[in-house]
Amino acid sequence: MEPPTIPYYKTEYIETDTGNKVSRKSVICGSQNIILGGKTIIQTDCVIRGDLRRTGGGHAVVVAIGRYCLLARGSIIRPPYKTYKGAFSYYPMKIGDHVTIGEGSIVEAATIGSFVHIGKNCVIGRFAIIKDCCRIEDNTVIPPNTVVPSFSIYEGSPGVFVDELPECVQDLYEAKTKDYYAKFQPRGD
């Protein structure tokens, strides 16, 4: 039996015009470099490092997050870095729609597709690419530069392919994230 709502204290969260719910207890560095697609929930103690931007002038998007994403408690989003042609730089990170990132996970991926579920306490290495419709189980370590193909389940340290997902996961994850957003409501009292 699922609880009807996931309550939160209204004073803790800020709701933006596009329906993003961002905890005041999260740490958002360089907020002008971060794009939230809408209806994304950022929970307590999350860290998003938008300040680690690419060297060179001009306005740069560092972290782009799509719609209906969930960053659970204590997850950390930081862009990946490398030296390319002798120049050190951080590079932008893109996260698609309907992505769930579990509690305490650390994400330094280059790209995360849509309809991805990342479990609790995972570590996603630098410049990993996670394609659409994937599931990363709890406590998985995805090494740097890994490409996780669509419809796969990864588990372990280092994360390896363990199983396939059915084609319906797109609908399942879409329904799940929309359901979570709908249930994530302020406390009644």
Binding site: C29, I76, F88, V123
Partner: protein, 218 residues
């Protein structure tokens, strides 16, 4: 340690006393070298020395519960790193180490040029040599001496010895980048800053911004 260059941190010299509530706990003595870049949003407790050129990202914790913690030169300490000293003896950390996000450090000694990856744990009274890599989510045993060039990796915390040296040029470039970029978006402990970086922190330069959403909306 170049003590003559160190500046003693006092609450009275910090302009942002209201925001540094976490760091305002009673402290014995915290010495931060002038050329270290230390974000304000961190927890420092007990007797701590931070060496030249070391970079501390926001949200890290350094807790010298019993003995002191001495951090050498040119280390990078990322978010949610916890460095604790529960022994009476000092915890000595060498030069050019990288402590990645969410790692947990106890131990008695950390050498030079080590990489402690995300969520790795160094436990108890362990001492670490030089040029080691503690892989993501790996941990050491409670009391051991880890020799130079050891790599701990994988599900079962396997060990091997690496032969290739660490890539020092990446580390220095990373440090240069962080020293330039971190002050633009984070509040840096002010009194420890050298004059040549002062201009980047001026509010009039337009780079300075609120550190968290809380600051923007409230």
């Amino acid at each position: 340690m170049q003590e003559e260059k160190s500046v003693k941190t006092e609450l009275s010299v910090k302009p942002h006393t209201s925001r540094s509530a976490k760091t305002s706990k009673p402290k014995k003595s915290i010495f931060i070298n002038k050329r270290a870049v230390v974000c304000e949003d961190i927890v420092l407790e007990g007797e701590i020395r931070i060496g030249e050129g070391t970079v501390l990202h926001p949200q890290c914790k350094i807790l010298a519960e019993q003995g002191p913690i001495v951090i050498g030169q040119n280390n990078i300490i990322e978010e949610k790193v916890t460095i604790v000293n529960r022994q009476q003896k000092p915890l000595l950390i060498g030069d050019e180490n990288v402590f990645e996000v969410g790692s947990y450090i106890e131990g008695t000694k950390i050498g030079n040029k080590n990489i402690i990856e995300a969520k790795a744990r160094i436990m108890g009274t362990t001492s670490l040599g030089n040029n080691c890599v503690i892989g993501a989510v790996c941990s050491t045993r409670n009391d051991e001496n880890i020799p130079d060039n050891t790599v701990i990796y994988g599900d079962y915390h396997n060990r091997r010895t690496q032969t290739n040296g660490s890539n020092a040029s990446v580390h220095t470039r990373h440090l240069d980048y962080l020293r330039e970029v971190l002050p633009k978006c984070n509040y840096i402990k002010v009194s420890e800053k050298p004059k040549d970086r002062g201009s980047a922190r001026e509010p009039s330069s337009g780079h300075r911004e609120a550190r968290s959403v809380k600051k923007i909306h409230s």
